[in-house]
Point group: C3
Chain length 337, copies 3
């Protein structure tokens, strides 16, 4: 893929070299995200942060990433109440809003709508989640987290990952599978209620590529011998009958005692967040909050790096970030401790 001026709509756009380039740029963003210095490379640029459904974390992460590059953010979260209800097409919205922006991050509840929007946009559009479909920056930050946690150079061949929970509706595990499918010889252990299994076509695709896929309802055996265990929340908002979600909530839980008994030492613990910490759910227990291998907050920190890298590459400023850097003047000592 040539990143320059491109829309980022789907992880299927990425090959191994694209991922490598993106992760290299993300690494270079680290001193800026950690406030060791600040860059003004995007001074004067405007991000149109366009959220047709609420997602605080993703919205703020994109906005923060753009600010860290020196750009400004114009945000829209009330769009449902506005022109759309007066019959405006996505085509018109895209033509108009792209006239106000240098790049757009967009979330929409309907699959395919970000792609439809992007066809009419005059600036690059980054898909920040279109309903049950795609959320490429999430899959990329997950893979980037695996790379950093496992100290992987460039190549994810041979890693072992368990995915736990709602594998049917969990968009992030679908995307991560597709991204890992770029590499070779990975072992996927898919732990879920039978009714919430990973979609058959994804499993087929992984197997066709020669990966080992184990599907099980038995969490304890499934947890054995992985490098990473990736937990998910029951996606109650995607169930037709929300009461049905109650049946599965709380069925698979990771806590300190299960981790110690069943995971090999240093197994990385991931979760796309939000995790459901209500007593009846609690798929990832708070008693692991101080565990050094709990990577969930490093994941969200990595999201900023990945989004900075996407902006840098689509706007073509990778060679100018450092020359535009200035000193950080405020106290940051406790920042990332």
């Amino acid at each position: 893929m040539n990143f320059l001026g491109s829309h980022i709509l789907s992880i299927s756009q990425f090959d191994k070299n694209d991922v490598k380039e993106l992760f290299r740029v993300a690494d270079e963003m680290q001193p800026y995200a950690q406030r060791e210095k600040h860059t003004r490379v995007l001074d004067g640029a405007i991000l149109g942060n366009l959220f047709f459904e609420p997602s605080t974390r993703t919205r703020v992460s994109f906005g923060c990433a753009f600010n860290l590059l020196g750009g400004q953010v114009r945000e829209t979260t009330d769009i449902k109440a506005s022109a759309i209800t007066k019959g405006e097409s996505l085509y018109d919205t895209a033509r108009v809003i792209s006239g106000y922006s240098d790049v757009i991050a967009m979330r929409h509840p309907v699959a395919g709508s970000v792609e439809e929007f992007s066809r009419a946009s005059r600036v690059p559009v980054i898909n920040a989640g279109d309903g049950p479909s795609e959320h490429p920056s999430q899959a990329l930050l997950d893979l980037y987290t695996i790379k950093k946690e496992l100290n992987i150079e460039d190549d994810f061949d041979g890693i072992r990952i368990a995915m736990v929970g709602d594998l049917k509706y969990g968009r992030t595990v679908h995307s991560l599978c597709k991204l890992l499918n770029l590499y070779s010889n990975i072992t996927f252990t898919l732990i879920s209620p039978n009714e919430l299994k990973m979609p058959e076509e994804i499993v087929e695709e992984l197997r066709k590529s020669g990966h080992e896929v184990i599907e099980t309802e038995d969490m304890e055996s499934g947890l054995e011998n992985n490098d990473t265990v990736y937990l998910t929340r029951i996606q109650e908002e995607r169930f037709e009958d929300r009461n049905e979600a109650d049946i599965y909530r709380g069925r698979f839980r990771l806590n300190q005692s299960i981790y110690t008994s069943h995971c090999k030492p240093n197994t990385v613990i991931m979760h796309p967040l939000p995790r459901d910490s209500r007593a009846e759910a609690n798929e990832l227990d708070n008693d692991l909050n101080q565990h050094p291998n709990l990577a969930i907050f490093r994941q969200t920190d990595n999201g900023v790096l990945i989004r900075m890298a996407l902006f840098v590459l689509t706007l073509g400023v990778q060679d100018k970030v450092h020359e535009s850097s200035v000193e950080v003047k405020w106290y940051t000592e406790k920042r990332f401790k």
Copy 2:
């Protein structure tokens, strides 16, 4: 008018020289809006972007214009849920919020409320629409678009414009008529259902000034021989009985075939947006989207220039914009193509 420090509440404040000055400054904003360079002239200034009712396009356009001049935007869209419900007067809101801002753009559903607010404000207030009443920057961007599309130097005398649709409730056509009334010898062809005719007092005023006004329910003959045709949406939200709006929706439509049959070549097509693209409305068909004379998205782009010019003039920085300019470092090639 002396722009410096003034409130911009109504197009009735403008004479021909004011319009000329504003458009001259808007022209100078072009390289900044097109990201050929960036200016920091308003570095440190704060726009209070105060929307008491939602309007994504207008809100983002004002915010974008201010960012392009190097300023910051503090936005309020949730104000109904806040102090106002605790009995706060517009006077108090204005005294307080104007202490946080260097200039304010304000939209409010009630006619006259922006003017009331401005009397208590300590900084210039730009009316971004007060209900059915005024929306001066829209009328100015419409006129500026006519100037640019028809390649007019300074003088709109003798042009021919058709206005189509809901001319009773359409605030933008009222304001545009008043603004065009500054010039001489214009031909207005007003095409609307009898029940949605242009208010009598506006028609009278135009005729008194010597303009020709033709009112008709026959779209096909009305479209003949104009320089510009300005379409409008049925303003269903202003009808007392919304079902009544259904009667008129879809009655007057412009599409490729009607345009070719009835408009003279190069007739400029305008619309204040949003256009209603639902099948039952569709007052301006998508089959004209690629037409070179469709100016509707150039209109919204021009809105940024006009709003930049309003900020520049009320804040008195017209002589400092260029000396504060810096290089744009990111990829912009496809930007306004």
Copy 3:
């Protein structure tokens, strides 16, 4: 208190020296707030402005203060609609959002929640109001206003203040009492309906410290001989039965005629705003709007200075504000007149 890197959760953290230091820095912020110059000392820093309930004034004041120091603001007002409803804990929200921010201002309807959030935050958190509990920057701006209005050097000993209205639910008067309790020999005249008296434990504490406390239902005698009279709105949203609030609304009112008859000349008039200007309430009449001792809008202006000072001190840039200052280029003449 060592401000550097600290959370600002409660006025009980402050001793007299802290207040003195804060007010000294606030004084230094004056030329920036009045747009005599602009500072970029926080260029690159991000404020996470996190409002779990709406409060336009406080939200914009914090955002404005941060912008005036050169920083960027990422705002969240829709958080209820988001991850929290999916069962996310405050701990998780804090870990995540603090990764996107350099400092956080947070309002929440539940007492104690800001403190809970701060324990998990990786950056300083400033309490912008947690329900009926604390709102330290409000108490500080109130005291700072008293200092400036009464031309006090450092010491509030011996001043006389009347507090009027809903002293039971009014969070701001509670906090101001606690803050004034740092000083000596103050006379508090507490004017309220018997049912809405200042909580007994606060009165006890003041008396224990040797202050004189007069409680009365008689406004006219209570107003006599004060330096400052501090009015409050009936906090109807805190009543279990909102109809009960109607009984007390409008019972104690200050207007021109009462002021002239009962207050000594130059008594400073304060109110935390919003004031309820509906006819049935009107605790502070609009006929005093032009009165030179009406300090209510200077109070909100002072709020910006106090919040700038809190950011400067917690982020440790007090020695760098001036060296980062740049010229203000736009017209500001009528700004604070």
